[in-house]
Assembly symmetry: C2
Homo-oligomer: 265 residues x 2
Amino acid sequence: MALCLQRRASFQALRRAARLLSPPARHAARLLSPPARHAALLLRLVSGVSYHALSRLLGGLGFSPYVNRVEMALKLKGVEYEPIAEDVKNKSPLLLQHNPVHKKVPVLIHNGKGIAESLIIVEYIDQVWQEGPPILPKDPYQRAMTRFWAKFIDEKCIIATWKACCSTGEEQEKSKEESMEALKFLEDEIKGKKFFGGENIGFVDIAANFIGYWLPIISEVKGVQLITEEKFPNLWRWMNDYCNDNFVKGILPSKDALVERFKSK
Amino acid sequence: MALCLQRRASFQALRRAARLLSPPARHAARLLSPPARHAALLLRLVSGVSYHALSRLLGGLGFSPYVNRVEMALKLKGVEYEPIAEDVKNKSPLLLQHNPVHKKVPVLIHNGKGIAESLIIVEYIDQVWQEGPPILPKDPYQRAMTRFWAKFIDEKCIIATWKACCSTGEEQEKSKEESMEALKFLEDEIKGKKFFGGENIGFVDIAANFIGYWLPIISEVKGVQLITEEKFPNLWRWMNDYCNDNFVKGILPSKDALVERFKSK
């Protein structure tokens, strides 16, 4: 059993190492027989490719809209990474080491260094992997506005809409009002555009994943109507385009799993 | 009287226009007789230089640590701008036009477009006026960490320390605890460095202007000790270096004016 676990660990390390190879090298490696592949990977490992060059995403196996933002950015850029599960009730030494301040996921570990805070990680990814599609616009004014709306979503939309669904009494009523007020600004901002990022998914669309996918599910589970087609026709249309976008669909967690999760909250 | 006001307005428009000239052109303009200068400036005005190329800072004549961040960034880059007073009790149409979401200062109007949120404006300034000293580091990891600490100061330090000084009872005690916890992280972060930005004032130092200057004054006025040399020796040393830095000193509002302001709060 111990030997079996050891072999499995060794195989996992090799799989991780395989991700460090360039695509042609990876393709060539697949053509080798398993033992030869093992040997080739070992050779690659000992020949100087650092394990730390691999990106690891702490929290990458859970249901968090914040982690999901980072997953979106990594996948948009075509970055291979290792998702690492994190137990919020029993935080790992890796999480405490790399995010000692907030002790929260997501944390992206790249080149052995940890980066925390989802939107900061997304900006980091956009800067490091510049060859992929741009996430933030280059123009300074557009860039500033993009940051403005992402911050607005974080500060004015997510907590208010969450509380509008999940709190009770006076707090719920107050949060509903705050949500309506904040969502009206988003409604105006998305008017006339396919995505917040224009023709393609951008920084604000990534920041707004909670509004686009999580929120309608939570609203449904909790029986609280917030974004309706009648009240927010543009935001409604964006939510549909967003959730039906082939790229986005492949990254969002399953609706059934989220329904189960929020039924118990 | 009306003619006098009209002439004054015209002269002010010309002075603003003068700021749009390149330094050598400005120097040359000074050598002309006043009427010739007037004519040269008018010529420049009608020859295509837009009034909107001038930077205007809404809130630039008040006492706000958030506005002060933007002033620091503009002055660090050597950008000439027009400060515009803003009455928080009677918000101007210009403020409501350029920051309809939050209706708050600072707002930087550049090329006729408004940018809100102090740290977003500082990033904008750093990108637009690249020829000046860098405010954020270029390295992606250092850049991410810089954003992390600036966000930390905004979210965990400013409100907690303000409440620790200005609230009462249970809220004050809770805020004191939160402040101590947050400030310990800043204490560790500044250890071994002259400024958060290294040898020079950077993004985090600009973000932390409230901690460096406003907070000790408010603490003194309210009789609440938060940052002492004994508890936070590194932060204490940074505060002294920061407030005695020749560049910073020239931008901070006078201590007497702040004392008066906070005595009445």
